[in-house]
Symmetry: D2
Subunit: 337 residues, 4 copies
Amino acid sequence: MVLNIGVIGTGAIGREHIGRLTNTLAGSKIVAVTDVNQEAAQDAIATYQLDAVVYPDDISLIAADNVDAVVITSWGPAHEGSVLAAIAAGKYVFCEKPLATTAAGARRIVDAEIAAGKKLVQVGFMRRYDEGYLGLKQAIDNNEIGAPLMLHCAHRNPTVDERYSTDMAISDTLIHEIDALHWLIDDDYKSVRIAFPRNTKNAREGLRDPQIATLETKNGVIITVEIFVNCQYGYDIQCEVVGEEGIVKLPEFSNIVTRKSGKLSQEILSDWKYRFTRAYDVELQDFVDSIKTKGAPQGPTSWDGYIAAVTADACIAAQTSGAVETIALDEKPAFYN
Amino acid sequence: MVLNIGVIGTGAIGREHIGRLTNTLAGSKIVAVTDVNQEAAQDAIATYQLDAVVYPDDISLIAADNVDAVVITSWGPAHEGSVLAAIAAGKYVFCEKPLATTAAGARRIVDAEIAAGKKLVQVGFMRRYDEGYLGLKQAIDNNEIGAPLMLHCAHRNPTVDERYSTDMAISDTLIHEIDALHWLIDDDYKSVRIAFPRNTKNAREGLRDPQIATLETKNGVIITVEIFVNCQYGYDIQCEVVGEEGIVKLPEFSNIVTRKSGKLSQEILSDWKYRFTRAYDVELQDFVDSIKTKGAPQGPTSWDGYIAAVTADACIAAQTSGAVETIALDEKPAFYN
Amino acid sequence: MVLNIGVIGTGAIGREHIGRLTNTLAGSKIVAVTDVNQEAAQDAIATYQLDAVVYPDDISLIAADNVDAVVITSWGPAHEGSVLAAIAAGKYVFCEKPLATTAAGARRIVDAEIAAGKKLVQVGFMRRYDEGYLGLKQAIDNNEIGAPLMLHCAHRNPTVDERYSTDMAISDTLIHEIDALHWLIDDDYKSVRIAFPRNTKNAREGLRDPQIATLETKNGVIITVEIFVNCQYGYDIQCEVVGEEGIVKLPEFSNIVTRKSGKLSQEILSDWKYRFTRAYDVELQDFVDSIKTKGAPQGPTSWDGYIAAVTADACIAAQTSGAVETIALDEKPAFYN
Amino acid sequence: MVLNIGVIGTGAIGREHIGRLTNTLAGSKIVAVTDVNQEAAQDAIATYQLDAVVYPDDISLIAADNVDAVVITSWGPAHEGSVLAAIAAGKYVFCEKPLATTAAGARRIVDAEIAAGKKLVQVGFMRRYDEGYLGLKQAIDNNEIGAPLMLHCAHRNPTVDERYSTDMAISDTLIHEIDALHWLIDDDYKSVRIAFPRNTKNAREGLRDPQIATLETKNGVIITVEIFVNCQYGYDIQCEVVGEEGIVKLPEFSNIVTRKSGKLSQEILSDWKYRFTRAYDVELQDFVDSIKTKGAPQGPTSWDGYIAAVTADACIAAQTSGAVETIALDEKPAFYN
């Protein structure tokens, strides 16, 4: 009852998932790896002492008989091809974001999956597995706060490196809220505006930071997300849902409480990796378990990947236009209900 | 060294101020009262056991030799006339909001005060005297969080009565943020938009609730204020200032911490009166003390009242237009620097 | 309707009360002052611009016709004599702690007051006027947590000066808990033990710090109070009441919330004066108001002062004996019910 | 590189560990089970779909060639025999508390392990793997609060079943603090007293609840632990360490923050199982990993099991005597340094 997994892409995130599946989670075995850099693939096997074979490319790895599922952690532009190949081969897929770099590409995956007639694909949006978000969702679903009316969110990083550009505030940062928030309130986005407040002096030349995204949903919920990637003080994710009867909010990241030098304080994380460590674990364990017990992954689908791609495109257009941009989603295929 | 005060308007708020000046604060004495309802004025004297004279109208009260300062707590449309009369008579004025019901009216008061050559007027915006706001201001002024970039605020009431209309979300509710926030960050408003999220089912027919006001300042600070006057759960004022180096936020209203029935909880106020009780006290004490020790009130000025009037007008226009409305302030007279 | 007050003792705390009564509170006037140092008394009049007379001693001040009430803020050993003289003269008394330096002295005051047949005396235990303690008391009295079973308390100062001795941890520090806690749970103390944990290196030579007092009440409630007067980090008062059905606890002192440099923090006070500023105000205002409206002060009585004296004696004995010391109170006179 | 495990005892906790090792953790395989009720053992295999053999007793299971390590989750009185047998066979042991039901039994295990010359045994005290306790320990070890002087702790359950007796407040409840606290501050216990406050009406007839244990360590640290197993409101574990320079405290259990019906609240757990779910996972994963990578478990040792046994005996004696009972530990064998 062990799920045999092939890993496509053995860079940083690929290695993290290899380590997680091998040393932390139950029920899977990595039997195949590949990378455009074949030495990197070999090195991953050595480092994690895997009993696995290096394949020359994604196609041959996907074709291997003993590979039940693939984990795609290559660079973004390669995702679409690997996912389509895996679907064609009837193999399960865990694909890190983005599912595809264009909305059209994501739509092609959706269509391929529908044509294959079986849900095979899970996209790596881990926030849905975070206990805080799950708590919010449970409260909303249990009608504890009535219908959601507004969401106030923030996504803050202490700093970003020099390659980080203004549009990456959408494609790398806001993308997590884009997926998590429509899932949270079970609604679809309708439009978006992006506003640029006074720029922080701590942003490198040319980078607009902070930004405020205002999304509106089909049900009229207004969502504001502050994106601030040079906030200096820490990695901080905030989400508050205001409903007709009450409000629920993510807890602060749990940490010991200190009284010292005139301050009552708790530490704030500086590194984003630790914020969702557990969500990453639960996400991949759920991928493995769901395939075994339900015959299909239960996490974010190709359709969610498509929603993220369309929404991100509109957000990036809104950065330039300064106007309200429509988020025009195709009608949701019954396959994904 | 007692400041002799005349009170114009002995309705609810007038009586509160009479009680406060008589039974809670030091250094003043109410020597004169008037009200369009003369019986109400008599009754106030009896209730608070004042050693005071009832005058037939504001003009005669202002003219009384022993009146050093007037507290104006009549209904809004009467404020401008009383303030102008007091300025003409060289008497100090504490005027409850609004200073005038129109921007033009507020401007007339500003001009009269400048012509009189002496600061006489304080407008009753009490939040500037709240310890929480003062703490935020001190942190900002001490450069503890760098330049402010964004403010996230909320003004929530559990319910409102049936006379409350959509525009009162500006003139009665947001008006407090309008005054407090530009003072807090020492900046001027440039424009405003109002958005209407999905309406709460708890609002009476015809009332748009909640609303989100997005103000932009001359320095590019973007301020979002959620106005939600049927939030059900309590009276709740939130204000968070995001700066280049850190964030400061109002504390929750202080209350004992309870562990009971599976909950760790603190009470939230249901009645707005208790939220700023102390700020009202400090505000009026400061009015009295400043006149005695500095010869002029030190609180919100006529100019602040003018800013509030112009800004509120733009906000109400924005409710209807759905567009970004410019907030066009006259140049600030040197008199108010 | 102004209460005329004479102040006996114009040292630091005397001046604070003079300032408070003159510049902050309503309804009283300081008409007389005295001090063993007559120049100090003259200076107080000048500083606070009082319309008051300097008397040569407490006896003559108490005898003055226009003195309705006295505030006793002389040094501790002088309190008993002044209080007894005021009772003899039928004047109201607000006496700073201690009411008397011995239990016998406190008992003499109790007896004198009973003999006089009228409640005249309030002891300056201000915690009963603190909003936090009042919130705890209300919750207990409303039976929100069932019968109290245990109290966990802490009284921490950042540092103390070199005159502070081990027994002052009782007479100057714990004394506030001694008064507040029996009032809070409406119970009487039965016994006490004092334990000395490992000493902090930050205590001066010879001072035992911290200490833990364990009090038991007639109803069997066990109260532990940590006394730690060199805790370095701030002035911090904690009180948690564990009841049969739930727990209530004092809130942290309210302060703005800051996110900065990897910390989510609130400031802790360093100076005890600010912790109970408002309680001091409310306490004295209540003294003034109660005399006017109810003909007697409603705060801590002479009997409470007696309880404090007897309990403090037992605590100091327990410091030396290391044993459980009985707190032997006389039967409560009906006069104080 | 898979650790083969035999499980002795397939009751509730045994099944939990079987599920955990099989479905949640990496790197182990359950190859053998036994139980005095052989059907229960068979049923565990069926339920968890194990590829494992049922053995007639602990001795035969321990003897099985393919068993690398045993998990002992039988009833307490059987632990000592199984542990000694495993040590004799040179097999690794994870033994649920208690290591032995008597101090003498625990000492026999210690002696056997020393004689075997290899650390083989880990006792199931999971709190050392809780992130909160680890955070406290790190702060203390980093000297962030100076030398510890006092600990204030509470162990509260909402209710207990009717079999729960006064001494189980030690052997089943306080036992967790007994292990965790000496580890936390790296100190040894010297003495203990138990006090009984007023009993809660919610305790069944005959049960003394709450209790307060006061432990003193060799370094003079005083530890108070409130044990309150009918607190009604929830399962709540508190631990505060007061040091010379500051204080650290466990965080509240993390949960979403709700504003509703006049309350700002977070849920408190009602079921103890959820409080340390993650600690149980980390504990067992560490057992498995440490054997593989370091050749010996790194968690609580037999010596820690012995300390717990001796200390619990003294605590139970103190319940009856009402006196300070000495905790007389043998000298720590160098083997455990």
